[in-house]
Symmetry: C2
Subunit: 315 residues, 2 copies
């Protein structure tokens, strides 16, 4: 049996990324109800909001689900206490050291996966005792690694470096690319962009519509002097990119970027002045559809891609 | 039968990239003799040097081979005349419009493939009548597309946009990643980095040794204001990267970058002050081995990756 399906007790090795301003209870419960693992995105929630979403998810599904927690989160103690008190079975951590919370969570019966963008960090996670690793490539939306390693080159390296169950993320927009990352050594996929524009996503309709219209080259990694982030090339992007090209310092860039830009763009629908994190795979997304259809598509594409391999050359 | 194998009359759907200062007659003939398609890299050769390498390749192999021609090449008329006069069966063009030379070459019996980094450009190539398309992702070494689209996201998009035989390039360092790109819709692969450090490559031993020591994040796309290029992070890289970060103009950068830096680094072995183009996949390369071994590894890894798919989950 697939190790990720066994670990999280899910039918399909498909995890929905816990994205800010997209991944509320509607999205997470829909993914879990359709055989994947839904994740709430704690990064954009106050502790009390997260608790409300946990309770609503539990009311909407009897299947396992999880919470994505960026470890830089200011009220992280509260967040973790809420997760454990409400018996959430799975936590995905990111953006920080896995050392601090992994043991604490595991002692309390929570399964822990950590998101990395390099083999070196994957090894640290293995040493810290996490249950699974998400390795995310340069093509992913939002926060991104400084090494800029792509999924195609990252997965084989991480696979070689660690023994733990491995989840590929970044650039996965179909069942065929899901299968491709499994050929590289992944055992499951974490998918963001496709679910960010699902009907059940909390994102603003104007953001979703924009994503369906994006083509190749319409997103770019920027804010490299602060925290590298893949964003849609809109007015906000131009503002910060221009500042970077002029050689502004990290402090100046921080001031120019301002606060609350992701909320402004993704949740409030200001698609010109907001920070719109989305992956390169947005170029392949043309429709806003419900989670059930996304999951069915992924599985049928995976199956037919698997069939076509039978016709590949034999040597 | 595989369309690329048929088109080029080769045993394996593996093409060796025509790389500057690496791809001379020794490398190209070794790849062709081992069942792939070897390419001479005209980009670093004077016309008379190219002719010498064509004649030596013909003496060393009876198998098909080709020449990679960057279309910005100053003496391109001479190069093309030499190729046709010497009955070279295949030309891979890059870095320019496919319109000008495709028809002329095809009328003279030459098979033409063109290297692109976007679907839009692939469509232009199809309209121009090329026989095959190479789609190369962001992880590739040397010159690179401005869209920064990775191989994992590029191949499915190009596959959807065109009907021609499709060759994947960028990030392919093993038979498993070869199979992965074929799952995405490619019918063959073009491999650069692995062959750049083959025993038969013309590159300097110090360059090859350095590549075997590189890890993740040791290459980066730079010179974005001129022609984006993936280079090893050495003293030369720091020089141009620093200049870019300070907001220098394209003209100033051109002056700072200087001329002959690839030759200085790759061919002459000045690994600190030369421009060292190599792909992200260099992180997976640990040994300098002959072409015969590289080809055997690729085929046996491809076959075993194909076997493992049989154990993948059924849905």
């Amino acid at each position: 049996m697939n190790r990720i399906c066994k670990l999280f007790d899910i039918k399909y090795p498909i995890i929905q990324g816990g994205m800010v301003w997209c991944s509320g209870w509607k999205l997470a419960s829909a993914v879990s109800n359709n055989g994947g693992l839904g994740l709430l995105g704690a990064g954009s929630m106050h502790p009390e909001t997260l608790e409300e979403h946990i309770l609503k998810t539990q009311a909407a599904t009897s299947k396992p689900f999880g919470v994505n927690v960026p470890l830089m989160y200011p009220e992280i103690d509260k967040i973790m206490e809420i997760i454990v008190r409400n018996k959430v079975p799975v936590v995905f951590t990111s953006a920080g050291s896995p050392k601090k919370w992994t043991g604490w969570l595991k002692e309390r019966g929570v399964k822990v996966a950590h998101v990395v963008s390099s083999s070196a960090f994957a090894e640290k996670c293995e040493a810290a005792g996490v249950d699974a690793i998400v390795a995310e490539g340069f093509e992913a939306g939002g926060h991104n690694g400084r090494e800029e390693t792509t999924t195609l080159t990252l997965i084989p390296s991480v696979r070689k470096a660690i023994r733990l169950p491995l989840i590929a993320a970044g650039g996965i927009g179909s069942g065929a690319s899901m299968l491709a990352t499994m050929v590289l050594g992944a055992e499951a996929v974490q998918i963001g962009s496709l679910f960010a524009v699902a009907e059940e996503s909390s994102a603003h309709p104007d953001f979703k519509k924009l994503v369906t219209q994006l083509g190749e080259g319409d997103t770019k990694l920027t804010l490299k002097k602060l925290a590298p982030s893949r964003l849609v090339k809109n007015a906000f992007f131009n503002l910060v990119e221009e500042a970077e090209n002029q050689g502004k310092s990290a402090r100046e860039l921080f001031k120019i970027a301002g606060k609350g830009r992701s909320k402004q763009g993704i949740f409030e629908g200001d698609i010109e002045n907001g920070a719109l994190g989305i992956g390169q795979v947005s170029a392949q997304i043309t429709r806003i559809i419900p989670v059930s259809e996304i999951m069915q598509n992924l599985i049928s594409e995976y199956n037919s891609a698997k069939e076509t391999i039978k016709e590949f050359p034999e040597f």
